[in-house]
């Protein structure tokens, strides 16, 4: 029996449509609640019919494909900061969305919350309209309003122009970073090459710090419910379990479908021994360990040796550092899978190609990156809040 479905109050839907119609700088945010509700079709229709810019949350990625022309992920900070009306579809104003507060948002931004849970409405912010109900059903209610009285947000508006320009410049900056030839590689180079080869229908599992955060901006999802990451609570150690679960599901439902599990080296350390399980049942998983010798930042092997010379590394190395040049790929070969030690873009392209082509064995690519590599410059510090 499917779960019971509830809809929003008719008058509230009407009011929400009206607020959207009057928006100067509208933005839709698509959360994992929309994915769970199966709202992909209705949301796509709403976005395309009204020509509205949208932004997915980490696990809302793929509800509408990341490469949709109205997806403004590449201008995320800009979009959040200047929108005057934001509609949250099954997305909540937690730390991932900076709590809905300035300076990441306009102080007078109007939030419209679509959520299945009454207790979540009005958390953190005072919303302009609340739509309590199943996200799919409520999206259809909104569509009805825009069917009755059609309306489109003009693509030639200065808001759309701002967003498009920002996306262009951000994408250029990413591409610039991705094309750097210096070695070890940086995050963007790695993810650029990964993105190029990923099958459109694969599951993407990801956990880590920079690895998860930057990876999410480059690696695209095209299908709903095909991305699993550490999510709302940022729990490390879930990645390999997620990958195994996704592979078991895929095996029955869609044989041939691959699971790509993108792990930071520290994240991989939490449950790396699950590689034994992956090999035991020969699951169609490709593991990418993006290895910077630590959490956020590590040392290169020479600096590490230098430290040991001066005394006990226990004392001098920060606890976020891991052993430089760990050969995580051997944790895979230890159990009969394929392992690759990857230091250049060419090695990355080649080994990823082989891994995806070989459907008989799991594989692990241990991808060495610059230990001090970091994100491109950000407008805001992580977790920026007005009152901190």
């Amino acid at each position: 029996m499917p779960p019971p479905v509830s809809m929003a109050e008719t008058s509230a839907v009407y009011m929400a449509a009206s607020v959207i119609r009057n928006a100067k700088r509208p933005l839709l945010i698509i959360g994992k609640g929309a994915a769970y509700a199966g709202a992909e079709e209705a949301l796509r229709k709403l976005v395309e019919q009204c020509k509205l810019p949208f932004l997915p949350t980490p696990m809302g990625k793929g509800v509408i494909p990341d490469n949709h022309p109205y997806c403004v992920s590449a201008a995320r900070s800009r979009a959040l900061q200047f929108a005057d009306v934001i509609v949250l579809f099954g997305a909540r104003l937690n730390w991932i969305l900076h709590f809905g507060l300035p300076p990441r948002y306009q102080p007078d931004v109007k939030f419209i919350q679509v959520d299945i849970c009454a207790e979540e409405l009005g958390n953190n912010v005072k919303p302009a309209v609340t739509l309590l109900g199943d996200t799919n059903a409520v999206t259809k209610q909104l569509l009805e309003q825009f069917d009755k009285t059609p309306w489109q947000y003009p693509l030639e508006s200065s808001w759309w122009q701002t967003l498009r320009e920002k996306m262009k410049s951000n994408e250029a900056a990413s591409k610039e970073l991705a094309s750097q030839k210096s070695l070890p590689m940086n995050y963007y180079t790695v993810f650029y090459h990964v993105q190029e080869q990923l099958p459109r229908d694969c599951f993407v599992v990801s956990e880590g710090a920079n690895t998860m955060d930057i990876g999410r901006t480059v690696i695209q999802n095209y299908l709903p419910r095909h991305r699993l990451d550490a999510g709302t609570f940022g729990t490390m150690g879930v990645g390999l379990g997620f990958a195994i679960a996704a592979a078991i599901v895929a095996k029955d439902r869609n044989p041939g479908q691959r699971v790509i599990c993108v792990e930071g080296d520290s994240a991989f350390g939490f449950s790396g021994m699950e590689v034994e399980t992956i090999c035991r049942y020969n699951l169609p998983i490709v593991l990418l360990v993006v290895n910077n010798n630590g959490i956020y930042q590590g040392f290169d092997a020479d600096s590490w040796k230098e430290m040991l010379k001066f005394g006990d590394a226990t004392a001098v190395a920060p606890p976020v550092c891991l052993l430089p040049n760990s050969h995580y790929e051997q944790v895979m070969t230890a159990f009969g899978g394929k392992g690759y030690f990857v230091q250049t873009p060419e090695e990355l392209q080649k080994s990823l190609k082989q891994s995806l082509a070989d459907t008989t064995k799991p594989s692990l690519l241990n991808i060495m990156i610059e230990p001090q590599a970091t994100r491109k410059a950000q407008d805001f510090h992580w977790l920026t809040r007005s009152n901190m």
Copy 2:
């Protein structure tokens, strides 16, 4: 800001209306969820328009007045036992509704659940239709269906005839009990005289065992959210706190409104000292202690003395017995309120009249009843379940 409201899925509403239309022996049950949702107007319209029999739960009493011609409380067991379609409006299938199971219900009865909480749908029974949403909003959705395609359940049906006959015979039996002249009085006599004098707009608070159960069948409510009893969890000791809270609310909102607090003697013992608070703030509360010298049953004073003669009452008296002829009214006079020791119908009439007339002081009527008094014969044992 009022809480957000959700509605049921349109197709489910349509299906529910269709199940109701096809019912041979329909029944509506109105729970406290309907009271909280403010569904009184919509429910009354539905009941009257479709001519459907209804039953309130303890705290659903008054959503539609208890003396409404379509209220079948006086045929409660019969109504539950033979209905083929039951619509629950904010009422849940807990012990108060005998878990929705045979032999108290037909094995194939179709339940339609209207509830604000998804997790409550499908508890205990497999419902025919679930309507997830605010009870007031969902009732209006049902009304729309019956406005589009009007329908009435025939008052001349054999179901209505059965119910009317059973109500008649039950009411006659109650009246017969109420009119008994023997002393000490029985429960029905007491409640009959109380009911005769109660102001229509008073709050009724009640706790106890038989006192609460029988009192509920005789004392009528005419307004929603004006009855407070031990409710779903049957917690004893809440009565005087409820009465004080209701009195504080009434004082500001509707001066002159009275609170009638009907207590069993055992229930009163849990927090009887709150009489000091009532007197300290001179709250407009009339306390009725229906005193049978124990829980369910006690001893009369002579039997008690007899037991003491033969030894230590600690050893021989069951722990549910209380001291015979306790003068609870003196607990009220101790703090300056009025107290009445009531042994006859005449004394009851007179002292209640005085208490209601005197708006300057709280009062307590200690109403002595037959220690072995009990309910009239029941069709089922308490908490009957098929698998017990």
Copy 3:
């Protein structure tokens, strides 16, 4: 099977004896742990043999009789403040003992802790010696030391002189307060007259604020394990339950033994309805309600009426005030016990005499005292701590 007994390490006992021998201003504190361990005989021997001043904690009262010449309760603050060596026998440095910290104690006071629980040793303070073991067994170990090498603390020391003088002046101050003829009575007058008549072997139960604190200083215990009060956690509402339990024990073990339950009016309000239980089983309890119309302080009836004139007492009366002149004795007569409304020393003497003489019924004395009555001037505020 009696619980297993452990003793302290021989060397620690030796060290403790040596610290005591070298004390300039020694003090023993006897806690309820000593009572539970049955250490009364050993402790009395130690006190008398070494001529050491001692102080009981609330439930340590009676381990050695309160009227023992070496009991320095009447100089409690002085004794705690200037002692240089303090031996705790089953007593813990919680709020009742002001956490063992200045300014209530010398900064360099040496504590010797005798306790059955290792985790309690060294709590709050760094003890000079810890004696882990059964309090009775450890006291005997100490006695052995003082048997081997006898030693006495000189009664003519300036410490004993200081303590004796302070006791004298405090006792004089109490007597002065007790003899005041003004009405309503004060706490000291009440407790003086109660103390005069109490049987030496009665149980004393007590709860309240000033009632418990002042009562404890005046009413004496002569037997171990015969005082029950709200104790370490100061939980109100336990008094009548304690009294009933003590009466049930006394009934079998020592018929004729009385239970005296001294209650503040607020404390009585927590479980006053238990009077019904007391009457039902005719328990040999004399209840004294020391009634000041509130918690710590109340209003007299005239001031209360004045407040009501100016508006709603709910708004103006502090929540610690109770209804003036409540007739708590009627809560007893309501259930057939004897009740006395007591306003003068003569009434108190007479009604207490009658209550103690009448072994056929429980009784309650509602003793009216001055609503603003308080303790005699104290050296320290309640719960004084150096860092507060």
Copy 4:
């Protein structure tokens, strides 16, 4: 400040000594409480002076060296089953000691419990004597008794003869198993060769099922507090953390001291990634993975392939099976430590020798044993209880 020490009651010590003197078949059990209390010297003196047989619990091993002539570990079941007096020194009657119940014990065996915790005395069994106190202090109290009135249990008694015979036959059976030449090796062969080379002062850490249970019987401890295993609650996953902690302690206190960590392959899977930490800080740990391809029992590689042929191994392999022939040693080499794949006694001897000789790197020996290998025949099933 050292923790406070308590001693047992003198009379109880006397009674315990008397029960021991009158024992026909005495047995001492030395638990980890004895190790924590530092009772090694006193216990050794007691054992040798009175010539009493003793048995260590898993973490009591080494309090007296395992190769002491009075250690009857090799006749453990026999000793427990027929002893008439058992003295527990800091050992508790939990599942490891079969709850102290028949058929593993005589129904009328007399237990003497020495324990620091009163609540543990009398658990499961009714002891003959309880000695509440610090195990070291109480052992000394017992020694005093046997100093005052010397006593020895005769080595020529039939109980000592029985034990010596059983030890001889059990040791012969173990030696027989250890000397089997068939491959893959069995547990006894592996542990025999490990025991031969272990430094006397090393820490031994162990976790697993058969690996821990059988290993404990063969690998000897010579020093107190030098064995760490999954202990009372049998928690898997603690081994590598224990080993790292022991290595950190050893580094400072006794450089050159080695940590030997004996792991079952399943146990290693819980936290095998900690090998990275071991290598990062270059800790002096030798890891032995005793690999039978599963928990209790696994499959060999050929049987596993056979299963895969017939379908999905997910479906057919029991969940306790692990991937056959996993190369756990590569998990070590992945991080720069030394790894050995060991299939024969000769390889085991050689690689263990190299690992112990090389103080510059941690190492891991992946020791392949017969997947169906098990313990030698046991008198009782695991966790035998009379009432199961």
